[in-house]
């Protein structure tokens, strides 16, 4: 037996971007074991930033690789199948990987910032029971949970495999590799720990449910095609094996289950319910990271599965393929409506951004359903632009804090309940945002500001921010305007090209009259403008309310990294809004797989 085994040849070079990230993650674990505690943080942050930067650099180098781009003269194949299709390194996969790594780099900057309070966003010991003496001790000793960085790197590694695999089982493994660290990270907030742990647990339960759906879907597709390799599935669907007409129900149900698992990750309705709770509960830098990067990776995977399968179906049964798109239509419409309508009544800035992220998932779906080169180009561009604005705006949220006048524990506990009515979950028994007596962790007193507490997430607390911190409020306004799709920001170009492509209609096949989706999308955007602009109005044109409870709002200074991240995001949002062409051209190269 053994002598019949032939070692597979592996084109390692094409895996370098992923290996750099995952390898550094492993090194990070060793760092935890062998590097002295006081140097750990520096080493970990440096490693994480270097790894993502190096990974991005290798992606840039691979981008022009002739095997990846193919030979335009012959018009032949492009993309490299590594390990028999376990990994497919093609322009699309590389582009999504690039977006993920770039956003991850910016997010790690935010994660690494300890601000002028000297504390990062994570619990000193996440394993300690909230409010226990043990936790108190750890906090006083200034312990930090630097495992955060390797965890982030593992998640990034999973996100990079996710859109670049041609094998459904590998895709499932990638899904878990990216999800498990996120479950852990979500539970690690320094403040309001119960809320954070609750969020993590919800995320875990629902995520497991979604994973199960995904695997079940894979099983059904395997039952039909006898393979989990997407290219082979395509061959079978296109008529190279069991005819599709023999078992349409099996295939469609399987595909829909797979899509459901992926739509869960992007936060599309009706699989969106976890988003607001988790975004609110997770440590804010992590929220920014997963909102931006997970969405990009999951949309990448979604696109790959959807297009391979629907192109295959189109060969044997175009009608069934159109029925498949009906499902996506329903999901896109629901997502846009729920995201904007519920977003409009939010009072917590993190929940509001969560609903905004749901609405954006809907807008991106419009681009995907467009099924033309133009619409997919818009989708890739949209993922980047959305991610920049998201990382940037959550970074701003980390800097706006509540303060209490005196470092008296009793007062802090009393006020913590008053100022944190976290959206609708305030009324929900299982989401005790307001009743978390142990979550707040007062920092040492800062002159003028009193004691700096957790983030001031209630919208009313943002009133008048524009006058006190014009730069920060300006950057936040820019991100909001970009999300609203106002011209001269990148968000406008993204929305314009996505909806424009949808109105122009699909090049080949797909959902048919996608202009209807575009119209709904534009209407939803109009409603969404309301809640984005409301924040801007609050920041600039409303006087800050006097707090009877003595709880103030202050802006803590970034120690540098978060400020850099915000500045880079803001600059890119502006530059891509005025000079989008170079990036749009790159995006166009990435989506040439569409006929």
């Amino acid at each position: 037996m053994t002598d019949s085994f032939v070692a597979p040849t592996i084109d390692w070079i094409y895996l370098v971007p992923i290996l750099v990230v995952l390898g550094t993650g492993v090194v990070g674990v060793l760092v935890e074991a062998f590097v002295p505690a006081r140097a750990r943080r520096t080493v970990q942050v440096t490693l994480a930033l270097l790894a993502t930067a190096a990974s991005f650099a290798t992606i840039v180098l691979l981008w022009r690789d002739p095997a990846v781009q193919g030979d335009p003269a012959t018009g032949g194949t492009y993309g490299v199948r590594v390990l028999g299709g376990s990994m497919v390194i093609d322009p699309f996969g590389l582009a999504v990987q690039g977006v993920v790594v770039l956003l991850a780099f910016l997010a790690i900057l935010v994660i690494a910032d300890r601000t002028s309070t000297g504390q990062d966003a994570f619990a000193p010991t996440a394993a300690a029971v909230p409010g226990s003496p043990y936790e108190d001790l750890a906090r006083r000793k200034g312990i930090e949970q630097t495992e955060v960085y390797p965890l982030v790197l593992f998640a990034v590694g999973g996100m990079m495999i996710f859109p670049a695999t041609g094998n459904l089982l590998v895709m499932f493994v990638a899904l878990e590799v990216l999800s498990l660290p996120l479950y852990v990270l979500s539970a690690m907030a320094r403040r309001r720990r119960l809320l954070s742990q609750e969020a993590s647990f919800k995320y875990f339960l629902l995520g497991a449910f979604a994973s199960a759906l995904f695997v079940f879907g894979v099983a059904l597709v395997y039952g039909y095609a006898g393979t989990v390799d997407l290219a082979a599935v395509f061959q079978v669907l296109a008529g190279g094996g069991t005819p599709f007409a023999d078992m349409p129900g099996l295939v469609l149900t399987g595909v829909l289950l797979i899509l459901a698992g992926l739509l869960f990750k992007v936060g599309a309705a009706p699989f969106h319910a976890w988003t607001p709770d988790v975004y609110q509960g997770a440590p804010t830098p992590i929220t920014g990271f997963m909102a931006a990067c997970t969405k990009a990776a999951a949309f990448g995977a979604l696109l790959r599965v959807l297009y391979v399968i629907s192109l295959g179906m189109a060969q044997s049964d175009p009608a069934a393929q159109e029925d498949l798109f009906v499902a996506l239509w329903v999901v896109a419409l629901l997502t846009m409506v729920i995201g904007t309508a519920v977003g409009a009544v939010q009072t917590d800035v993190k929940r509001l951004l969560a609903y905004s992220s749901i609405a954006h998932a809907g807008f991106i779906l419009v681009g995907i359903i467009g099924f033309s080169q133009a619409s997919l180009r818009a989708t890739v561009f949209y993922l980047l632009v959305y991610g920049l604005a998201t990382v940037g705006s959550f970074a701003v949220v980390t800097l706006v804090r509540e303060t209490a006048p005196a470092p008296e524990r009793a007062l802090v506990d009393a006020t913590a309940g008053v100022v944190a009515p976290g959206g609708e979950s305030a009324s929900a028994p299982s989401a005790p945002t307001g009743g978390d007596p142990v979550g707040d962790d007062p920092s040492p007193a800062v002159p003028d500001a009193g004691v700096v507490l957790g983030e001031a997430t209630h919208l009313a607390q943002w009133a008048g921010l524009g006058r006190r911190s014009p730069w920060l409020a300006g950057a936040f306004s820019l991100f909001l305007l970009s999300m609203a799709g106002i011209p001269l920001t990148a968000g406008f170009i993204a929305k314009f090209s996505a909806f424009g492509a949808a109105i122009a209609g699909p090049d080949t096949q797909g959902g048919g009259s996608t202009w209807v989706l575009a119209v709904v999308g534009v209407l939803a955007s109009a409603v969404a403008v309301f809640f984005y602009v409301r924040i801007i109005v609050l920041m600039y044109f409303t006087a800050p309310a006097e707090d009877a409870e003595g709880v103030g709002v202050t802006v803590v200074r970034s120690r540098g990294p978060a400020a850099i991240s915000i500045a880079v995001c803001a600059a890119l949002v502006l530059v891509l809004g005025v000079f989008p062409s170079p990036v749009l051209e790159l995006a166009a190269e990435a989506v040439k797989f569409v006929p």
């Binding site: 069934a320 519920v342 299982s430």
Partner: protein
């Protein structure tokens, strides 16, 4: 005399013949051209961002940036002069700017003799005025901000003239509008000045709509807005379309260049500090309309009707400005009226077609020198007279400010068109060109030639009036010595007129040198016309309806008459300190021929009623509807929010239920379509 006649202006040409085609090959030295814009733009950005920290060195930094731009311009100009004439039109495309669907615009520069002429004018005169302003604004605590805006203006103006597409031109167009607004209202603590700035801004917007409409027409017809493509497509376009485009462009030119009927803002724009009036509202920005018309020559060539309207607008403004100039007692407003009238000449010339383009630009350049010089002179007078602008309170100032008086006098001779000063060469050519029959229609030659001729006479009168009232005649201000040198008791505040510092006089001297010699130098051997030929095309010689010698003699006779009348009225006779009641025409001219009243009645009042009713409709209908919609969205949101109850079991059930419904729908559809 024959020397003056030889490179005769009287010519007509075949359209576009001799005009060079733009090449995309960028010669090495031209690569420096972006710094023309970048330097002043950087200056403005640094001065505005650094704020008060740069107060100490801000003014000279601004001078440095503008001067640097001039040096770059000179370098590019010299290397262009070394190229054969056919290679001088270069499209330097830098980056892809907008690529949205069928619209594809590159960010690029059109570097050719026309744009380089403007570059040199703007940067040279601009730098001189920067230097002048260092002294003029010395005691203003916001001097640094002033220089930031000046730099911003220079950058925007260079974008305007260097743009290779109408869209980028529009960016510069708006940029100079913004800079103009900021500078007119520089002393915005004075309410009247702030209002003047707003008026200029709003009237310029009307012109901008013209440019936007032209842009849309071009994009809709040609699918492009860059000069090369548009001009290449023009021959195939219909006359009606070209006429519409030409008229839209004319509206834009009227707004920016203060031409009838959009001229009312220029007088008020004198609220800005005098260097601003010299740079923006005399020498450069207000000539942008002329640039636009000349640049769009191919469009106008295809639209004779639009060309005729251009000529009419120029002729009307020419006379209009001249009449207003005769009655103004405010020295800056009189100069502003004169600017309006002189630009009328340029627009008229530009409307005459290829025969006039070169002379329009020629007059623009010489006018830039002598008018800027005279404005700086007026500023110098104000500087010595504690910001007095009423000419009836001047008189006999030559004794006290010799340099100012002499440089101003040279500018005066130049604008009058006395040989051999600059204005003679440029203005006389325009008059000659106006007398050339167009399309064999002699009436036009007689009408427009006659207007241009009469305008020269009136110009001589009001400019002499201005010069005499200020520098000659008897003293009409209080010298504080108690003796009555003039007549009547002395009143008003005591003045101590004195010459301005060297930083102010040297720019005036340099500009005066230009007023004297520039016309002769540029005209020698038809040098300037030949220089512009790659852009404007070669003009064939054609005779005017009257002999050229007779035209020159007539012009000079009218000018002499104007000077004589002014002399009799303002030097020989005593000038009353308070303005006399005056004739109907004088009273009308003082009020800008009731242009403001016309505007108020025809546009402003109806506009106000319209906006009021719109506000009402907005409140009642739009807001009502919108709030209703918002309420509806809110209710839907509240209802949907109920599902977000925080229980994982609900979330899971939602997912499962949703999935089941979706699968059921898809399967039902498939089964339906299969059967």
């Amino acid at each position: 005399m024959s020397m003056l006649l030889s490179p005769s202006a009287a010519a007509v040409l075949l359209p576009a013949e001799g005009a060079a085609v733009a090449t995309d090959v960028v010669p090495g030295p031209f690569l420096a051209a972006p710094f023309l814009v970048l330097l002043p733009m950087l200056g403005a950005a640094i001065l505005l961002l650094a704020g008060r920290r740069s107060d100490r060195w801000g003014a000279w930094f601004g001078v440095l940036m503008s001067g640097g731009a001039f040096l770059v311009g000179l370098w590019v100009f010299l290397s262009m002069a070394g190229l054969p004439a056919d290679d001088r039109v270069v499209d330097y495309s830098m980056v892809d700017w907008i690529s949205a669907g069928s619209l594809d615009v590159a960010l690029g520069m059109r570097i050719d003799p026309l744009s380089m002429t403007f570059v040199l004018l703007v940067t040279f005169v601009g730098t001189l005025i920067h230097v002048y302003a260092v002294a003029y604004m010395e005691h203003d605590r916001d001097r640094r901000r002033f220089f930031a805006y000046l730099n911003l203006f220079v950058a925007a103006m260079l974008v305007l003239v260097l743009a290779d597409s109408y869209l980028l031109l529009f960016v510069g167009w708006e940029g100079v509008g913004l800079a103009s607004y900021l500078l007119i209202g520089f002393w915005n603590h004075n309410r009247a000045y702030a209002v003047a700035a707003k008026k200029a801004f709003v009237m310029n917007r009307i012109g901008d709509i013209g440019l936007i409409v032209a842009l849309m027409l071009m994009f809709a017809t040609f699918g492009a807005v860059d000069f090369s493509t548009v001009f290449a497509e023009v021959p195939g376009a219909s006359t009606a379309l070209l006429t519409a485009t030409g008229l839209a462009l004319l509206v834009a030119a009227c707004g920016k260049s203060a031409q009838f009927p959009l001229q009312a803002w220029l007088g008020d724009a004198m609220a800005g500090p005098t260097p601003v009036s010299a740079l923006i509202h005399a020498a450069t920005m207000v000539t942008a309309g002329v640039y636009l018309v000349v640049r769009s020559a191919p469009v106008f060539e295809g639209a004779p009707t639009a060309q005729l309207v251009v000529v009419i607008v120029g002729a009307v403004t020419l006379i209009f400005g001249a009449i207003v100039g005769c009655a103004k007692d405010d020295i800056k407003k009189a100069l502003a009226a004169s600017t309006m009238s002189q630009i009328g000449y340029m627009i008229l010339a530009a409307g005459l077609g290829p025969i006039g383009y070169a002379f329009a630009i020629f007059h623009l350049v010489t006018h830039g020198f002598f008018k800027a010089g005279m404005f700086l002179g007026a500023g110098s007078v104000m500087h010595g007279m504690d910001d007095q602008v009423d000419m009836r309170r001047f008189g006999g100032l030559t004794r006290f400010m010799k340099v100012t008086a002499i440089t101003f006098g040279l500018g005066w001779l130049a604008i009058l068109g006395i040989p051999p000063f600059s204005g003679f060469y440029s203005k006389d050519k325009i008059i000659e060109a106006a007398f050339v029959p167009v399309d064999g229609e002699p009436w036009r030659a007689w009408v427009f030639g006659g207007v241009a001729l009469i305008g020269a006479g009136i110009t001589a009168f009001y400019m002499s009036r201005l010069f005499f009232m200020t520098f000659l005649g008897r003293r009409r201000w209080n010298d504080g010595k108690g003796d009555v040198a003039g007549r009547g008791a002395q009143d008003g505040p005591v003045r101590h007129p004195h010459e301005s510092p060297a930083l102010m006089t040297w720019p005036m001297i340099l500009l005066a040198v230009g007023s004297v010699g520039l016309g002769f130098v540029l005209n020698a051997g038809g040098r300037f016309v030949t220089w512009l030929e790659p852009v404007t095309g070669h003009a064939e010689h054609e005779e005017p309806v009257l002999p050229v010698a007779l035209l020159i003699a007539l012009t000079l006779a009218l000018v002499a008459l104007g000077i004589f009348l002014a002399w009799r009225q303002y030097v020989v006779t005593l000038v009353p300190i308070r303005a006399p009641h005056g004739s109907v025409l004088t009273r009308a001219a003082r009020r800008d021929l009731y242009q403001d009243d016309v505007n108020e009645t025809l546009v402003m009042r109806p506009g106000q009623y319209l906006t009021r009713s719109l506000v009402y409709a907005d409140k009642e209908m739009v807001d009502g509807g919108w709030l209703g919609l918002a309420g509806g969205v809110g209710r839907v949101g509240e209802w949907l929010r109920g599902w977000q109850n925080g229980y994982v079991r609900t979330y899971g059930a939602t997912m499962l239920g949703g999935l089941v419904v979706i699968v059921a729908v898809v399967l039902a559809l498939t089964t339906g379509s299969a059967s």
